[in-house]
Symmetry: C2
Subunit: 477 residues, 2 copies
Amino acid sequence: MNTKTVEELLKHDTTLQDVSVKGWVKTFRANRFIALNDGSTINNIQCVVDFESFEESLLKRISTGAAIHVIGELVESQGKGQRLEIQVKELEVLGDSDPETYPIQPKKHSFEFLRENAHLRTRTNTFSAVMRLRSALSFAIHKYFTENGFYNMHTPIVTGSDAEGAGEMFRVSTLDAKNPPLNENGDVDYTKDFFGKETNLTVSGQLEAETYAMSLGKVYTFGPTFRAENSNTSRHLAEFWMIEPEVAFMDLDGNMDLAEDFLKSVLNYVLEHNKEDLEFLEKRLLDEEKTKPQAERSDMSLIEKLRFVVDNNFKRVSYTEAIDILRNSKPNKKKKFKYLINEWGADLQSEHERYLVEKHFKCPVILFDYPANIKAFYMRLNEDGKTVRAMDILFPGIGEMVGGSQREERLDVLVEKMKALDIPEEELWWYLDLRKYGTAVHSGFGLGFERLVMFATGMSNIRDVIPYPRTPQNAEF
Amino acid sequence: MNTKTVEELLKHDTTLQDVSVKGWVKTFRANRFIALNDGSTINNIQCVVDFESFEESLLKRISTGAAIHVIGELVESQGKGQRLEIQVKELEVLGDSDPETYPIQPKKHSFEFLRENAHLRTRTNTFSAVMRLRSALSFAIHKYFTENGFYNMHTPIVTGSDAEGAGEMFRVSTLDAKNPPLNENGDVDYTKDFFGKETNLTVSGQLEAETYAMSLGKVYTFGPTFRAENSNTSRHLAEFWMIEPEVAFMDLDGNMDLAEDFLKSVLNYVLEHNKEDLEFLEKRLLDEEKTKPQAERSDMSLIEKLRFVVDNNFKRVSYTEAIDILRNSKPNKKKKFKYLINEWGADLQSEHERYLVEKHFKCPVILFDYPANIKAFYMRLNEDGKTVRAMDILFPGIGEMVGGSQREERLDVLVEKMKALDIPEEELWWYLDLRKYGTAVHSGFGLGFERLVMFATGMSNIRDVIPYPRTPQNAEF
């Protein structure tokens, strides 16, 4: 007899004489009803025990968290709440779970408590749903790019260059930590380190992805990236996963089209494939919002929000237009913004982005053509000489979901820019080679995967959408 | 007019009035025939220029590596070697490529030279084919697991534990490299480091994957792993990608079934989807082998080798049987092995694995039930008290492709084993929790992704199957 998953059993049309299923006990009610789950779905299968047919000592071991093996008959349920249930014929406890000490009791636990027990938190409905969605989004991303002619590329994690300057970096070393070898200048002698030079954890795979786009045409990365920034917020991780597509012969307009189509496609994928998990998380979010003041509650439910993104065009607005809107906005005039917008050139803060998305346009917004001096060196300079072909996609509740740009393809302009920013040419000789040999217009963007998972699950703390979050003072598990 | 990819154009049934295509010049022959490639396929499209209709100064710029935009008519080719070609009407050079300095000339380059120019090497046929195959294998892996009910899981890259002991680790730190803070014992004070403790780059996501298998049922990881080992060989990288599935309620037999089905499925995927790249690489390998002495040449072509794995059962042999075979083998008796096999308990070396696979069984081999003392602490002890439920899958030419095991699910046996090996319980409290609360039989394996890419592409140096290899003294790009 083949052991089936709970999902397989619950999908059955007919009753079945002999079924075998293994899983973990969620609850055991009235010495009779076991709610059994094996992770294959958010739903449990009800296993009905005739307690007179089993030893009391065995039944006592059926407690929350115990692993059991059930053999029985799959029948139409007599009770409410489920279509099918199992009449248990044989019952075996594979692994006990002491109810006195098991941390995951059948009650509400705080997310903080569950973070401390991150190795067990996917045994709760919320976290199993979140991680199934995370997995589905991950697959949807690979599927989207593969079906659209992109090649997946693994860019290096350990890097000898820190030229991108996207943030503080973690040093990677095998030198003696206490007494590193010193060179004749009295500095640490990295020529003796494993890689023969100072190395760090990557902050982005973009520059390497550009090298492959300029030969394979369309590529994307999906890998871990790192920031050694001491930000203890609900929106930052020291280690997070990023998706970075890069496309040759594509300009910024094409980049916006790609990003919008991509986001709609992957969100549509989970709307189609993860209905039950989304419904559970939608209900959870509603319950959570009930505890908040009316003004902070969302106008839309979780699924409505996803549908809204999938079904509507993103609003495309230039930075210059956005500044005008913000300058004339109520919160700016009434000095409600922490950072007031007085003039063109200001860097937009989260409060401004949220105003544009949530109050003014009420839909995802693509801002483009930012001032050159607040954006990275590799972004293509516009003919106006002061803006670059950059774009940010802003989502309700999340803020920046995507950041991208058309890349500077002109060797002379790029070299000039690097000089102005003191980026040594020797360090990026290979990046400059792309502009020397067969250069062409090309563009790409970066998407923080955890931001996307937050949006799709309605979770508000980024530590709750990655299995084992890495943050300042925390590398447990 | 939409710009099309070379692949799209070459698939066309009919001729087309107006086509636009962008790509890089591979060759320009007789001032008339441009071979154009854009990475979408290994094949070039031939663009025929009527040189009398274009300025000589323009034609001079059509050199290998230049990026160009061609507009013309897609017609049936008059010449041999291609079904379709483009009669060029308009021609624009997007980016020049100075033939005097461009490193990738239309001739054979050594792989060593191309490694030094890794940012340009996918502009060669060999490396574009290898990287397209790498990408296809990556997708095939995600597809296989998704279709079989697995959830993808991102295990942490930075880890505070070094308990797995799979190898030397890289330290991750933000402390001052030269003058780290010291504690009162005079040791480096890691409480002041970013994560508040000593952290390293992960060597495996297995232990964390087990935590998710014991709640979600079937999970897999696909992420980078690291070894700080000073091995300058053609089979080792300091940074490589690993796939690690982990399944609850699955024993070692199920694990072998899964691994075999998985390997066949992903290799079958590329046989179906990457025919042209495989044919190119097969021809390349044949050419390479012609330079070798007859005895070192392979009996099978690349595609034959892949087919052979897909179509045949892997031979399953216990370690004990394997030792008998090896002890009685010709190379052992004639003392041709570097390490002679004298008794049960010996660790198998590469030469023994290759003998079993390539000479004795001539097919992939699954060795199982290894001596406990040559395998990791978490592997399930057999009833004989001296072997563990471990398995290695050995492939011709590659050696170990997969290493896996049934995990020790019994708390007391596991704790005993950890004590014997001086692994502190405090460090793995969360791992032990899995055995305290609802423990069950579970198993998994690890597959080095680059080994798989080597096998599927016929490349013999692991540095040639990853975009930017990380090895001792090398973290360029």
